[in-house]
């Protein structure tokens, strides 16, 4: 990686407007030394993938709170596959049943952080696993 900063896309997907978590994570990943592109609300799987490609991102971070994680995650994974983005880490955060964590990992999510996660644990995970 050299001295280049890790570049992270942080985004919401769909209509869900609970963005406190996404904004806080974006802000503290920056403080953790990463370059963050915060896409904000009303993104689609396509718009997120396009941003990740345009920005040559190392990580995509998605934030869910309204039960939409099982709707949008497979679509994003599919778009990533279509675009050959094996080298991009896909990380999900937010509120969902623990039962769905394994489901999302099966879909192709690299790591999942629930509410109540401490930010240093996210920074560490990304630093150690970025491809």
């Amino acid at each position: 990686m050299g001295t280049e900063k890790i570049k992270v896309i942080v985004s919401k997907v769909g209509l869900d407007g609970h963005d406190r978590g996404a904004k806080v994570v974006a802000s503290l990943l920056k403080e953790g030394g990463m370059e963050v592109v915060y896409l904000g609300m009303y993104q689609t799987p396509e718009s997120i993938i396009k941003a990740a490609i345009d920005e040559d991102a190392d990580v995509i971070g998605l934030s869910y709170l309204s039960g939409e994680h099982l709707v949008y995650t497979p679509k994003i994974v599919e778009e990533m596959k279509k675009n050959g983005m094996d080298d991009v880490l896909l990380v999900v955060g937010g509120s969902f049943p623990p039962e769905d964590i394994e489901v999302m990992k099966q879909m192709g999510v690299d790591e999942v952080f629930r509410g109540g996660s401490r930010i240093p644990s996210i920074v560490n995970y990304i630093t150690e696993n970025v491809r």
Binding site: K12, G14, L15, D16, G17, H18, D19, R20, K23, V24, S27, L28, M41, Y42, S66, G67, E68, V71, Y72, S95, F96, P97, P98, E99, I101, E102, R114, G115, G116, R118, I119, P120
Partner: protein, 565 residues
């Protein structure tokens, strides 16, 4: 930087028992004497702290101005608070069923919440809506949906809280009134509330649906209509809860909430209403966070500030105009998915604070909210929490039981003083509308949210299961997971498509034209919305028509063109 508590992870079984830690634990004491919002407290409060108090002027009995101790003299001896659990799930039929279930379990008020698509003003057939209909609430796109939601519930006998907060509250009110009228009820007798606080809702992700001018216009249309025609109805519950959920402090919650409330009050006065004509039905929706005494003090301070605002700033004469009446929603953001059954305890403490604070209506979160929408079991458990409080604990016996405590009175003064400082700050940036337009308020929210996270990250704020007494991550939700049936969403989409195909287009076009005309002429939009609703206009059509008159795109998401052009 504090040393933090003796860090213990229940999951960490790798090392031998360290008895020195047990000894340390025995002598352990709280790591700070500060409140959740960060105010340093003394170790004891005494009569000296109250030496300057003028009881009659600053505190007063419950039922007396400035209502610090409560808005009714006999408080819960007169009537319990309304036990109301928020319900919104899948289709109108699903939501009706769960709401009726909560009623059967002893709930005393209905409380239904809109989903994101409804709040955004999108019909289920909108491309952005199709994936998300019913995921977080109920979508009502037409009078038919409202008929199904109401079902056999007698509207003249129940108190119904309609949680639509955005500009879509105007269609919601129209839909509720239209159904009530069709069923033959006199709307003057309807009892309940509508959230109708579109100004605050831009901070909950609904900015496209809530431009500031339109938020004040439609919000006040609902308020004015109800103030004139529905005297028992609370036409807004200004939502300080959602603001608090952004991470702000207790005094900021009061100050920002009142700033937004005054946007509406000022507009209603501009419209020529007398303060005493409408203020007696003004209401709030308040958070109860986890710092027990601070929340009680916050509520008491809010009552005093509101009373004085109404009397001194707005010249209210009717004591009812000065009464801060409020519902409490226990703090969703204080709940965590780690060791989730602990949430039941957090919620119970918060509910107790709300009741000791003199709440009028209470929603207890379900323990499972950090994981999913409430399950049926979660809903019942939350309701039981309220019932145990109401029927077992004796907290209903005496009004404001903590009043007169040297500490509580001092903390009430402190929160009032801090809230007034924040209100002054808002004045200095040019008032609340300017604070919103210039995004000053956005920046405050972001700043505070980051602070809160750092407090948890560095152990300054302790949360059991997060940064103390942690355990291995759960793999399942104790009482099961609430899922939304896919067919519910599909049916909603099909229903609205079918409605749009089969309704009387001439009658619809005429009703929409009248709505457009009324808004153009600066009239209140609600009567025309009611008529258009009866002509099967949909939520998106009502809102889109008004949006266009105000110079906004018909579709908040900018995809669909108006079908009426």
């Amino acid at each position: 930087m504090s040393q933090g508590p003796i860090s213990r992870s229940i999951a960490d079984k790798s090392s031998e028992v360290n008895w020195d830690d047990y000894l340390k634990s025995y002598y352990e004491k709280p790591q700070s004497g500060r409140t959740w919002s960060g105010y340093e407290l003394k170790e004891i409060y005494t009569p000296e702290d109250r030496a300057g108090e003028n009881y009659k002027q600053d505190v007063g009995d419950a039922g007396d101005y400035p209502f610090t101790r409560g808005i009714h003299r006999n408080m819960f001896r007169g009537r319990f608070w309304t036990r109301r659990e928020v319900v919104g799930i899948g289709s109108p039929a699903d939501t009706h069923q769960r709401a009726a279930f909560c009623f059967e379990q002893g709930g005393s008020g209905l409380n239904t919440i809109a989903d994101v698509t409804y709040e955004m003003g999108l019909d289920p057939d909108h491309p952005w809506a199709q994936q998300e209909v019913g995921l977080t609430g109920v979508n009502i796109s037409s009078i038919k949906d409202m008929e199904i939601l109401v079902g056999d519930i007698p509207l003249d006998k129940v108190s119904w809280s309609l949680i639509t907060a955005s500009t879509a509250a105007a269609p919601t009110m129209a839909q509720y009134v239209a159904v009530a009228q069709q069923k033959g009820y006199d709307i003057a007798g309807l009892r309940g509330s509508i959230q109708n606080d579109p100004v605050h809702f831009r901070y909950c992700g609904f900015r496209p649906a809530c431009p500031l001018d339109l938020s004040i216009k439609l919000g006040c249309d609902v308020m004015e209509f109800c103030a004139r025609s529905m005297p028992k109805w609370h036409y807004t519950t200004v939502n300080t809860y959602d603001l608090r959920e952004q991470g702000i402090t207790a005094p900021q919650e009061v100050a920002f909430g009142f700033g937004i409330a005054m946007c509406y009050v000022d507009e209603l006065i501009r419209r020529g209403l007398n303060i005493d004509e409408f203020a007696p039905r003004f209401a709030f929706y308040v958070s109860c966070h986890v710092d027990f005494f601070e929340e009680i003090a916050k509520i008491r301070a809010a009552r005093r500030i509101w009373a004085r605002l109404m009397k001194e700033k707005y010249g209210a004469k009717d004591p009812r105009s000065m009464q801060f009446r409020f519902a409490v929603h226990t703090a969703g953001c204080s709940l965590i998915p780690q060791q989730p059954l602990n949430n039941i305890v957090r919620i119970a403490y918060q509910a107790l604070a709300a009741v000791l604070g003199g709440v009028q209506s209470l929603h207890c979160c379900s323990y499972d909210e950090p994981m999913c929408l409430p399950t049926e079991k979660g809903h019942v458990q939350a309701l039981r929490t309220q019932q145990i409080l109401a029927y077992e604990t004796g907290v209903t016996n005496v009004a404001d039981p903590l009043g007169g405590s040297y500490f509580i009175e001092s903390l009430t003064d402190k929160i009032e003083e801090e809230a007034q400082k924040v209100m002054q700050e808002v004045e200095e940036v040019g008032g609340m509308e300017e604070a919103i337009r210039s995004e000053w308020l956005d920046r405050r929210f972001e700043l505070e949210a980051v602070k809160r996270q750092k407090e948890v990250d560095n152990g300054e704020k302790l949360i059991v299961g997060v940064n103390i007494f942690t355990s291995e991550a759960e793999t399942c939700t104790p009482l099961g997971v609430q899922r939304i049936a896919e067919q519910s969403a599909r049916r909603q989409i099909q229903d609205v498509i079918e409605l749009k195909r089969t309704r009387d287009k001439a009658r619809l076009n005429e009703a929409i034209e009248r709505l457009r005309e009324d808004v153009l002429q600066g009239k209140n939009s609600i009567p025309a919305m009611i008529e258009a609703t009866k002509a099967s206009a949909t939520t998106a059509e009502l809102l889109g028509t008004v949006r266009e008159v105000y110079g906004y795109q018909y579709d908040p998401m900018g995809i669909i063109e108006s079908p009426f052009r």
